[in-house]
Subunit: 167 residues, 2 copies
Amino acid sequence: MANPTDQITLDPAAKKAALRMFTYGLYAIGVAHGEDRNMFTANWLTQVSFEPPLVSISVENDGHSIGLLRESGVFAISVFSTDQREQAGALGKRWKLRPDKIGDVRNRPGVTGCPVLEDAPGVVECRVIDQMAAGDSTVFLAEVIHAEVQGDAQPLTMQEAGFRHAG
Amino acid sequence: MANPTDQITLDPAAKKAALRMFTYGLYAIGVAHGEDRNMFTANWLTQVSFEPPLVSISVENDGHSIGLLRESGVFAISVFSTDQREQAGALGKRWKLRPDKIGDVRNRPGVTGCPVLEDAPGVVECRVIDQMAAGDSTVFLAEVIHAEVQGDAQPLTMQEAGFRHAG
């Protein structure tokens, strides 16, 4: 390689500022295993393949939901609408501080058994097919196995919500 | 599992519509190996870890750039600004139809040797640490090894650009 990477330096302030320029949406991720279920707010999520339709999501290793996701191998993505900023905030609280946070939002079981938001404009349900360790998190690769359009509300973006989860 | 996933059906129209509700930014990805270099427009990109700072990007298996990326193990992300819609369109053309498309944008070599946009508000350079096969694409996991802020222009979003690359 022409430029050995071990001589390159990283300025923490520039790293934080540049990574915060990335654009994100906001999604309610529903997980369930047996009687245990949870929803959490995520933004590190993207489609990654057209054929077959695949998405990836990064999930924190030290949260409550990753265990449920690993056990069941399925999860549901509900796209927050611009009217659902408050729900995005509620589901963004840490489970250990608010283990009953799912009660703060109107939800129903999706076809995978994972909770989905009643009022989200779109729902995508997924089956995990692979995963990759990624620092403090794990990137799950998942196939889209079901999808529903529930209305024409506009999707909520991270910038509109005024939230920050990058850097 | 309470809900076997093999009985779940996928409606292609709902799948496309729901996946198009995801929010994306637009980025110029620079790759280089030896004298060969290229830039392409990407949106399937996200941060995936705070510590260490990691990003993931999905790259098409049948494009020209994936080979350069695999050979060098480094790439550069330039965040398009709202003024750079035209450049985002130019770099979004397929390499085999326009192999000299990098000449359509003002660029310079980054610290990794990969091309970065002169006028992008932010630049993030990365070293690949892992990868995962993902259907028609490959998801690369990469550590942020260098970052620069080049101005305070607003990042361009997929929605503002009017482009579509999801569904």
